[in-house]
């Protein structure tokens, strides 16, 4: 199908690649279907885009959590695991919603409320973790810290 994107014009995508958000992105409860776009010209990029399928103007930047938090592996509640359809031995893939101003040194990622994705089931959810992570963690730090 043809997908109208916020940044890249019309992109041809396979409908089966779309992600169903079983818990919405908070503040965007009217949207439950997104597709992940990654930039093939930047191999190994820690970023990708999360483009809303039916809302061209809604597109998030997502960051791999390992960039700011090595070994990021939060504990999900049983309810969260159930809505994602995770088997007991499965863990989701996490991506962090990123605020990216023109000055990239001011960019932040939301570690408190990551996007959890069950790739095989194509289900995703924004999970507010109990653990004490920051909502706005700096993406770029002077020195590598622990989270």
């Amino acid at each position: 199908m043809k997908l109208n994107t916020k940044y890249f014009g019309e992109v041809s995508v396979d409908e089966c690649e779309s992600l169903l958000f079983v818990v919405p992105i908070y503040g965007f409860e009217h949207i439950d279907c997104y597709i992940i776009l990654s930039d093939s010209s930047v191999p190994d990029s820690p970023f990708c885009w999360l483009q809303a399928v039916e809302h061209e103007d809604v597109c998030f930047v997502l960051t791999q959590p390992e960039v700011v938090c090595a070994g990021f592996c939060p504990t999900l509640s049983q309810e969260d695991r159930a809505v994602l359809g995770l088997a007991p031995d499965e863990e989701p893939v996490y991506r962090l919603i990123t605020i990216l101003p023109d000055d990239v040194t001011k960019a932040t990622v939301n570690l408190k409320s990551p996007i959890a994705i069950h790739p095989a089931a194509k289900r995703a959810a924004q999970i507010i973790l109990d653990a004490d992570y920051p909502v706005r963690a700096p993406l770029v730090r002077e020195e590598e810290g622990t989270c």
């Binding site: 779309s18 597709i35 093939s40 930047v61 090595a70 919603i97 960019a107 939301n110």
Partner: protein, 102 residues
């Protein structure tokens, strides 16, 4: 900040219509019951901050800034975790160089 000490089952009243009761304390968790008029929004603070953060994040990203950030971070943490799992969904696109979109 006003700080009060309450026991389980005890209540604090805010104005005439809102009451907050300590229901249960387990370890470092406190269950709180809130009674308030329907028109009063009651939200966990981290949810409010996440909504604010999400709205700001959706406001717009400069694709050049993203590319700059990718190259800035490119040398970090190139461990196995940095690779997408093969089953990771989505579409890989050629975004081209130098196009800046707001």
């Amino acid at each position: 900040m006003l700080i009060l000490t309450r026991k389980v089952g005890q209540t604090i009243c805010l104005g005439d219509n809102i009451s907050i009761t300590v229901m249960e304390v387990t370890g470092d968790k406190v269950r709180i019951g809130i009674e308030a008029p329907r028109e009063v929004r009651v939200l966990r603070e981290e949810l409010v901050r996440t909504v604010d953060s999400n709205r700001q994040a959706a406001g717009g990203a400069n694709t050049d800034a993203l590319r700059a950030a990718a190259s800035m971070l490119g040398t970090f943490h190139k461990g196995p975790n940095m690779q997408n799992t093969p089953a990771f969904p989505g579409k890989s696109i050629e975004t081209g160089g130098g196009s800046s979109n707001k």
